[in-house]
Symmetry: D2
Subunit: 264 residues, 4 copies
């Protein structure tokens, strides 16, 4: 029997409690609806759980992350409340091999900025306009089951320039009714972790009930499944002179005492 | 008359004061020797200054960074003493267009880790062994004036795996006497900034007096000169509905008040 | 005195002789108008010439290519008439360091397909619709002097998927009136050559008289100027055993006679 | 039951018939030994066959390629005898999604040069020297089951510069006894096809009997398995005006008659 994919949907879970229109669409929180969509599409092949900002350690203890294959991240107004310690952990786990799917306003989340290193900035407008997401590669696993494009009738606009390192692969580019374009689906590999950014998801529209969005997220989870792990990815080991692959004799001065750890 | 390139050599300047063998090689600090090498090679085309950890704001005030085209960075035992505020500034300036050249143990410096987002870890050994740096692209501007390879008679070893995002260009790969290999010269673009990592430079050997190392650094400074600037690279502007390129009418709910800034 | 940039605008020059609307817009051929635009913008800093399919060796002898820093390429209905020998030469010169700017329907030209290795295919429609080109990086030298976007009132549509290797940098993405998007400005480095693909240019509209298009082409020529050259880029030299950097003794059998060239 | 991976090992199969030392090591041809190694490691999960230059259409008919998930390619002295028609087919299948693993001297094979577009040149020496392959990413699926490095006691040397587009991922870098280094394991994605170049394999040494080499090839076959397919990857469809996603009216002249195919 194939091992189940262990998926965790993380959500800051703030706007649902404050904003009436968000609460109406997502009475139990967006994470619940996203997780339901994944369960619907992935069935027995995955075990889907959730975690939120308000839980101890934001629900992302080392144990939880070690038992997570793919993490989805939704944040917006509470990016600054995520502790750096949890961000460190998430970064290390991605570099080891955990997949990371960053949703919508998560472009400004700490883990995304940490892993990409750029501004992650963009233009934006809330006008409930139409978005058409074009598939840049119909053979890409994240686009499986879609047509040439799909549309969202009402959405927030994100526009270029998008402050990211050049993506490894461009999966979607969006056309907006108001005249902008945006790189809506981008992939990167960092360490052994696969990262996918997916633009749709504004909390004032029922985006995560959309059939095509659910397909994309389920596809992305399968795509981001770890292909390999490297537990020691953050280590910087010293190689003692007598363990060099070729025989050598130490002959120069040193800044380290014997056996001392490297500086960080 | 062409504009002079404004270069700043940053150095933590710690080991020269503590370690006798480092002090002997670099009595006034490595930054002084690196800057001298650049002046020797670049002559009138550049204005080369220095800055150190001990100066107010580490010598990297906003004014100084705004007046810097290319920054070189050497740090080792004091990475943790660099303030996050200065790191934020350096990152923003690189994304705007400033070139950044990271030297040797700077692989673990805060600005390098911030901009690349990965572990930046590696293997290491201090045995004073020979290093041979192979040129992976003899036509690359950073390798101008070199032969097929050059050698350093005594150096610290750095070995793979090197925890970096795949480089845009591989300029050098090192062969070590003790049997290891390392990606010793790597380039990346982040925002508009060109980044070059150059491995040699261990403080217990007179690396920065070496003719080939001086050539590489001078070449790299010229290569990293800003080709363009984008002052507003960190901004995430709202586009008001009535400024959309195509006429649209706002039709949905919103999480922002009119004119409110986006969340970060 | 700085060396002048040597620019060559290559054009198949066929439609102007056959199609009345093309002839009306470009009576002397598009290459003449493109070259005029470059002269207007680059002034004394460049020497701009042209070459066409009908000249001996298509005007691209080895001598001509060796004396060219940046080549612009426009082809459409006569891609198949370009000789493979000339394509080999263009490829080798780009790998050595010559810049290459491929225009519009040149996405299916032999040199572009040769250098990129992918399908280079796309969707298309001739309806004279509006195109808006968004700048994905306002600090990129190719976008210097442009605003957030510029528009072409009438153009052919090219739509995604565009069958290219992931670009090193995304400079422009187009929004089309009819609802499509396209990666309209893309850069790649191959060997030492900088390659820029720029989408606008359909021959039934006066695209190459457009002020913004002229700016982009002049910027791109400057961006694509060779930073380095590697004359021997196509060579695969044998290293005789007694020239190895480390002393070794040959000890195994061989498939080559001593001094024999490698197989190709 | 999971679908079996359909693997084809292609070999020019020439040196085994001409060179006594090659014949002794590989009496039935290298393809047979490579295929045996894959069967040993992949067991029931794969169906491994072979094809050779001498078969009709080199054994790579359209039907055969359509029924192949991963193709391995070994060629050396007969690159020029491979027909362009077969190369076209291989290229199209890779872009659709077929994996391609190029071995050793296949760096100069037509399919590899076609898909990468660069010189693919390198330095070389036949001296039977030792090679040590370092793993640049211990978590990469292609390196699964290996230690920090593995060695080949006798091998041909390949040295930098290697004329390739910057790899998506660097899996191996080699250290040679004679003093050179080489990017020995590189990956690229082109279209939907995963490409892996693996350096070892010189025909005068029993490389394909080596346990670690066999592990790498089996890992690489699994890594290169198609994740998606795009049958129409080479098509460049016209979008009729009345099928545009947004309603538009054709308003300009055209170079194509209605319904005419695009130029190639």
């Amino acid at each position: 029997m194939a091992k189940k994919l262990r998926v965790c949907v993380w959500h800051e879970f703030v706007h649902e409690k404050k904003n009436a229109s968000v609460k109406e669409i997502y009475p139990d929180g967006m994470h619940v609806v996203i997780a339901d969509g994944l369960r619907e599409k992935l069935g027995d092949s995955a075990e889907v759980g959730t975690a939120t900002l308000q839980e101890p350690e934001h629900g992302l203890t080392q144990e939880r992350l070690d038992a997570t294959d793919v993490l989805l991240w939704w944040g917006h107004c509470a990016h600054g409340e995520v502790s750096d310690e949890v961000v460190n952990r998430v970064q290390a786990r991605v570099l080891q091999g955990m997949g990371l799917i960053v949703l919508h306003s998560g472009h400004f989340s700490k883990p995304f900025k940490r892993l990409l290193g750029t501004s992650c900035a963009l233009k934006w407008r809330e006008a409930g306009e139409k978005e058409r997401l074009w598939v840049c590669n119909p053979g890409h696993p994240i686009a499986a089951g879609l047509g040439d494009y799909f549309e969202l009738p009402q959405t927030e606009m994100y526009g270029e320039p998008f402050g990211i390192p050049s993506p490894d692969e461009q999966v979607f580019i969006s056309w907006f009714e108001g005249g902008e374009v945006f790189r809506s689906g981008c992939t990167w590999i960092r360490g052994n972790g696969k990262i996918f950014y997916f633009r749709p998801g504004h909390e004032t529209y029922p985006i995560y009930y959309d059939e095509n969005v659910r397909k994309v997220l389920a596809n992305a989870v399968q795509w981001a499944a770890p292909q390999g792990h490297w537990v020691g990815v953050m280590a910087a080991p010293n190689v003692p002179v007598d363990k060099a692959p070729e025989p050598i004799v130490a002959k120069g001065p040193s800044v380290h005492e014997e056996g001392e750890a490297g500086f960080r």
